[in-house]
């Protein structure tokens, strides 16, 4: 799997917004790549320094909703604290039928020039939202509202 295969922006399924497809060899990789793709929808992750650390803990019975919640947390911090993140470290465990996510995100206060901000994401939608496994590879598809 090349780098370009792991995060691919999809032109034809979100005319007014942004859609991306994520692949990974593990669930952890898919979640981390999805976080990166979300940030890429707004800015340039490579330009974001790791000055601020945020820990996120989430739980859900469904893994796809856990991903939905995780991405919405990133959008939440963008608005509540003006933070953008460039580094993502995600761990997911399952116990008693519940998936638990523990993530450490690193970033800094948003700066339109430094971070090459292009647009603002309002929310993650459930439109064509999916998380699954195909031929041993984990895949997710996400459409965000701009």
């Amino acid at each position: 799997m090349t780098k370009n295969d792991k995060i691919k922006f999809l032109d034809n399924i979100a005319i007014a917004d942004t859609a991306f497809q994520i692949k990974g060899n593990s669930i952890k990789e898919v979640f981390e790549n999805a976080a990166k793709a979300l940030t890429m929808s707004m800015a340039s992750p490579d330009c974001i320094e790791d000055k601020v650390k945020v820990n996120i803990t989430l739980q859900n019975k469904k893994l796809d909703i856990l991903l939905f919640d995780f991405l919405n947390e990133i959008i939440f911090y963008k608005d509540s604290d003006n933070l953008l993140f460039g580094k993502y470290n995600v761990g997911i465990e399952k116990s008693n039928g519940m998936f638990e996510l523990k993530a450490k995100l690193e970033g800094e206060k948003a700066d339109s020039k430094k971070h090459k901000i292009t647009t603002d994401v309002k929310a993650v939608t459930l439109h064509m939202f999916k998380l699954g496994k195909k031929n041993g590879v984990f895949e997710a598809r996400v459409v965000v509202d701009i």
Partner: protein
């Protein structure tokens, strides 16, 4: 996706019969000139016929001429449900609750403003927070909850508005039935820093003028107090992260609640519950908080822009004639009465269009009808129209809101660079400032439908009538 066979009702009304899809309770109707209908993406027809299947729907599921596919409802979708046995669906309102527009006039002419456009736009860009990472008016949680209940009235109490402003806002800037106890802590935290901010995407603040020959209805133009060569400014924004979070919170809650009501749907974005259910009422009360926040947001931005004009032209607000013509919402669900029935009218990328004599419009407009705004791209201009009795009778008092996208954001960026677009518009006499060249390119005029055709469609359909065309000379976007 099976393309429907349309039954032509007239030149601007196309019906998809109930037989098109299993489960349709009413037909769907697309309001559009044929060229716009032919250019609509098929997702619109799939989505509007899904809407036609929802319980308690009355008459028709409508899509306006600027329609394109959205989440759940198409953008441009209008549907009304009986409040007793009908439903409420966040997908019929959108993430940006009460995204809307307002138009403020001045007594300045193009000749007065043209030499100063750069200074005005640069000052607006400096003073109106846009995009990510900007902060608005400083308010705490207690104040935010007051904004959520009071809307533009909060602005009046806190020095951002005048009495006459509130008269000229839909629902007088404050909708009843907002209850902040149904807000999540996340919605509160997203809302606190963003009051008085423009946001990004297709939100903008535009200086406009009325070109020679741009008046369609001289009587209505006189009532609205506008004339050729006059300069106005338009604001397009909504409820910011506050509303977006409320929409997200309830999309998830409804996804769960539907199991309780044994509701199964194909499209999760069309999640719905009975309007009178506990969950339905909670969402309605939280949504009303976002509606009020958005009215307040546009009012605070108005205050900032008035200040810019006052500084540049060294005059007071009254001296410069900076009066609000009207503020309209285009993503809401409101309880309204039609044919003696109370209905919950969902407008998703559609504008209320009340006609002459309607008790819910300001006294000064009762003779001609409610002002309606249809926003175009930053290249093509916009329209001010008036509402009609026909809209009340035919489309639950609704009309179009904008020009609708025809091209994806990424495709638009591949066709033009933001810098080239900015330079090209400058040559045409339109001065634009934006935080992001990428974001600017995404909003290029060629990525949108022809706004003239959209305005002509609703005019010919009789659901709102053109009063003036407005052309841009300056714009800021996030």
């Amino acid at each position: 996706m099976k393309k429907p066979k349309f039954e032509k009702i007239d030149d601007t009304t196309w019906e998809i019969p109930k037989t098109h899809k299993k489960g349709m309770k009413v037909p769907a109707r697309i309001i559009a000139l044929k060229d716009l209908l032919d250019g609509m993406d098929e997702g619109v027809f799939e989505q509007i016929t899904n809407v036609a299947c929802l319980p308690g729907i009355e008459k028709y599921a409508f899509c306006m001429p600027d329609g394109h596919w959205g989440y759940g409802f198409p953008v441009g979708g209008v549907a009304a449900f009986n409040i007793e046995n009908g439903i409420i669906s966040p997908g019929g309102i959108g993430f940006d609750i009460n995204c809307g527009m307002r138009l403020i006039k001045t007594n300045l002419t193009l000749k007065d403003v043209k030499p100063n456009v750069k200074e005005i736009v640069d000052r607006m860009f400096r003073d109106v927070p846009t995009g990510i990472g900007t902060k608005g008016v400083k308010i705490d949680e207690k104040q935010l909850k007051k904004v959520a209940v009071e809307g533009a009235e909060w602005c009046l109490k806190n020095g951002f508005a005048y009495d006459e402003d509130l008269e000229c806002i839909e629902s007088y800037g404050c909708i009843e039935g907002a209850d902040p106890s149904y807000l999540s802590s996340k919605a509160i935290k997203r809302g606190m820093p963003q009051l008085g901010t423009l946001g990004g995407g297709n939100h903008y603040l535009e200086i406009q003028y009325i070109p020679k020959g741009g008046i369609f209805d001289t009587e209505a133009a006189e009532v609205f107090g506008i004339r050729e060569e006059q300069v106005l400014f338009m604001i397009h924004t909504g409820s910011r992260g506050f509303g977006h979070q409320i929409a997200t919170d309830f999309l998830k809650k409804f996804d769960k609640a539907m199991q309780k009501y044994n509701i199964k749907i194909k499209d999760r974005n069309l999640a719905y519950v009975p309007f009178k259910s506990e969950e339905g009422q909670e969402y309605f009360k939280a949504m009303n908080c976002a509606i009020n926040y958005a009215f307040a947001n546009r009012q605070v931005i108005t205050h900032i822009v008035r200040d810019v004009f006052m500084r540049v032209f060294r005059g007071g607000r009254k001296e410069l004639g900076m009066e609000l013509i009207y503020d309209v919402a285009h993503n809401t669900a409101k309880v309204e009465e039609y044919s003696g029935k109370k209905l919950i009218v969902h407008r998703k990328g559609a504008t209320r269009s009340f006609g002459p004599g309607n008790p819910d419009i300001p006294e000064m407009y009762k003779e001609v009808g409610q002002p309606v705004l249809i926003g175009g791209s930053m290249e093509t201009g916009s329209y001010l129209l008036m509402g009609t009795k026909e809209a009340e009778e035919e489309t639950f008092g609704s009309t179009a809101h904008g020009s609708g996208r025809t091209m994806s954001r990424r495709a638009a960026k591949r066709q033009v660079s933001g810098k080239d677009l900015q330079d090209k518009l400058k040559e045409k006499g339109i001065y634009i400032r934006s935080d992001s060249y990428g974001g600017l390119a995404e909003e290029a005029g060629f990525a949108y439908k022809n706004v003239d055709m959209v305005a002509e469609s609703v005019d010919k359909a009789g659901i709102s009538k053109r009063v003036v065309k407005l052309l841009p000379i300056g714009n800021i976007k996030g």
